[in-house]
Symmetry: D2
Subunit: 300 residues, 4 copies
């Protein structure tokens, strides 16, 4: 029975770990605030009181952490995963972090005889619960293949996209396109509304052509109903676009629209929209257009 | 047998008129350069030597013209369609023009006892040939319903989106989203390529999630193969975005990303890309990022 | 004694006409709302009840009108200035309009034997009153020279910048740089304030180096005092930037920052800031940054 | 006689150190590549072989280093200035670095009993040679006053702008306005040229009004002469705008035009313009507008 250490049992990590239990893995979980391990234990997993205890005997180590500094501390830091991991263990970092963090993790892992992959996910809490996440994997091809049983227990679309860091780069590109598309759809809706168009009919015809996209299909109904319950919070999307901007600058490429939309997300957050769903970019377009909406009346 | 006058037998108009013939309408076509009427006649339609001759006995008049001034001349001008049309005739303008042009046509038509719709299409030459266009219709509900037999002979998705001008507004929103999405996908591809990612694998995983869109599905393969044969030319998209900018300014709304992408399309055109497919926005992102590509070596 | 017809006695036109009286010209003024001619008459000018009456015996015709359609009506329209003007008269259009309007006026004037210049001004109401306007003149060199006595009665900086329309183009460029500079200074102030910098000290050091500009010198004190009394209203700057955008599109050039700032001005106007001084772009930067300010609490 | 340690004798640092010698200070210089200390010694200064040797007996320590990591290494690092500096010494960091680096230096200095100021400069090599730099100073008021003799030996405009880090913030704002103004002037020039305007005449009239700025006065003549010899290189301006972007993101403010121009500078650099003067933004506007210029034909 393959032993899996799972570090980071948050909104995403907890159901991902439970899906590993369901798939027959021996899962030992650790979380900074220990209460979060209870549901894992109730589902048949085990609890570890420290990162070291969790990873000591693990065949596979999965990390699902908030940001680059967390991964650096938990994986690379003193008492971290790499210090204790068995020679030959497999480290799967499912966190969304900077590509260069993933490359640093891969290099440090190799130096310790640990095989590492970056494997950020998309699909949200629902995808984590249902095991239908998309997983973008960077690292060596053969390591990727050896990790497939673990990855397929958590996601339904699992794709190897390149060397170490490539998973993070694709995740960054994903977040860039998603933010840009939400903004484009928001601008289109405000424009259509200002001309007295039937928005429901417009969305249905737009969704069927070359303008069609997943935001129109999945997000527009809630946007028209003015429901901005997250879903995926502006705060998190802002953090992810920070990764994009840093990686863009590092690569020396010019992404005019991507940079622009990152600024719009930052502005929405500065105006107090951080805890709303990212589709609340609609509120900002309304505000910029002088149209009454919740954003302008919302306390900051 | 319903008599249909069809004015404007270009790349789009000619196959649309032929589909009306196939559907059993008595079609009499007119085009400024008369050679373009030959294929219609060969398919069983008739030829008229002037707009007046075409519309005199028509139950329905369909216009498919390049731009707002053409519609103003052919419909509203001296010797134009409204001067000669029968009382009670139905005017369907399938051209992509400014919403205010469509509203002016609707008002002038009403004054002459003619019922008018704006009905711009999307789906390109292939959609026109196969009769699978999306048609966005503005005008009175009952006029729309009376026009359905004609509209359904030309398109497979026919949606009534609001009052006069609303069809044009939805078409404008469509062109805004399409240009913005091509730009976002182009920026993502350059970004991914700069980080050494496998582009084919990345496109497949991006297409399956919230970043998924019709550009990734239909356009990205040709973009990766560096095939920029139109399709839909930058020159035409530039013209359509001019309609968007004018309608945005008229409505007093703020569309930051839409305005930005209109500038990028204008710049690509200024650099000599006007006759390329609109997916050639990729070349401009490459040029801005200092990456070798056809645009930089192309004579302007 | 040179007879000058002056059409358009608004906030700018009235003092300009009075300065012509002071300089010894025989000025006959006309304004759509006749009450505006009273101060001219009190200063020693004469009143005309129609454009035709004003221009019939004039050696020089000066027009100072709000926008392109006004110039087209008053100069080119039925009963307009060109219909009545004497052969050999000199037409000086001081309005800020589209370069192509000025070129159309120049062509129509030439056909009637009238010599025409476009001569838009900058310097505001104060400059108009004090006769210290900057005047940017387009048209033939020798016509320009013959107009110098009239132009120098109204402005202290009078420059010939090129053929017909060139004056308007330079005025458009002026408005582009002014709006962009106000926005840059506003962004710098919000940035500095967010980091706890002494704004007065910062402005003084910034004004002395390569970042120095007339906005820092003349506008920043009122901005820091939060006084947005016009001066030059956002509504007017928005109109002028519309001229810039049209001329940019006509010329097929790419002005990324200029286009961007035009969108920001349009947005400020949409949010209800149209009657504030253009330095109120500061309020919009504050709003976008989530900082309390008058704009967010202002009724729209 | 006040002993001044000067670390970093580059293009800016060397003449600044010589001006301190001229003003009567006992200057002991250190530079990573020791050959750079020769001119200082020839001018009457002394040479130190290490940072520690330079600062050991110094009353004042001036650092003039390329970027934040250099300051962190030389000041905060092992064997760095703070390790060896006398209790009560004054540290003046004239480097352009991130405000948070300056705040970290100030905190570390205080912990060691050293008084610290951030004092970045503007005015370029000419200003450094002539002692006419503008110096923007952050730190305690009384420390600032005690540093004035040293600062006034290097610059002619010396302003205290706020607490630790404020000098860097003002320098960042300076670089933001400078880049934005160069871009606005470049866009205006391309626009004017496309309409056939006399550029020299236009620049003279624009420089005299509210559009007037130091770029029009000092840079436009070389731009019109197409001389892009640095001056201040795009590579350095790109680095400085990176500081701006990081500080903007840290402060949670929205600077739409500033962010946009940072992207344009990054793009010019990506296209191979890094070693040109920053006024070469003109070449990029020309390239975006499809106008022939050196940038398009320049090997990247």
């Amino acid at each position: 029975m393959t032993a899996v250490a799972f570090i980071g049992l948050g909104v995403m990590g907890a159901p991902m770990a439970q899906n590993l239990v369901k798939a027959g893995f021996d899962v030992i979980g650790h979380n900074r605030s220990p209460a979060r391990t209870d549901t894992l234990v109730a589902s048949g997993g085990r609890r570890a009181d420290s990162v070291a205890d969790a990873v000591r005997d693990a065949d596979v180590i999965v990390t699902m952490l908030p940001d680059s500094p967390d991964v650096e501390a938990v994986v690379l830091g003193e008492g971290g995963a790499l210090e204790t991991a068995r020679h030959g263990a497999l480290l799967v970092d499912a966190s969304t972090v900077r590509p260069e963090t993933s490359r640093a993790v891969a290099a440090a892992a190799e130096a310790r005889g640990v095989r590492a992959l970056d494997a950020p996910v998309s699909g949200g809490e629902a995808g984590a619960v249902e095991g239908t996440l998309s997983i973008m994997v960077g690292g060596d091809e053969e390591v990727y293949e050896s990790a497939l049983p673990v990855l397929r227990a958590m996601g339904s679309t699992v794709v190897h996209v390149g060397p170490a860091g490539a998973g993070q780069t694709v995740k960054a590109a994903n977040q860039l396109i998603v933010a840009g598309t939400i903004e484009l759809v928001s601008e289109a809706l405000v424009f259509l509304d200002s001309h007295g168009v039937d928005l429901g009919a417009a969305v249905s015809v737009l969704a069927g052509g070359l303008a069609g996209n997943a935001v129109l299909q999945r997000k527009a109904p809630a946007m028209l109903a003015r429901d901005f319950t997250p879903g995926f919070r502006i705060d998190l999307h802002h953090k992810d676009l920070g990764i994009v901007l840093a990686a863009v600058r590092e690569a020396g490429v010019a992404l005019p629209l991507g940079t622009h939309v990152a600024g719009l997300v930052a502005s929405l957050r500065a105006q107090g929209g951080g805890s709303l769903d990212h589709s609340a970019l609609l509120l900002q377009v309304e505000s910029l257009s002088g149209r009454d909406n919740e954003l302008r009346s919302r306390p900051v």
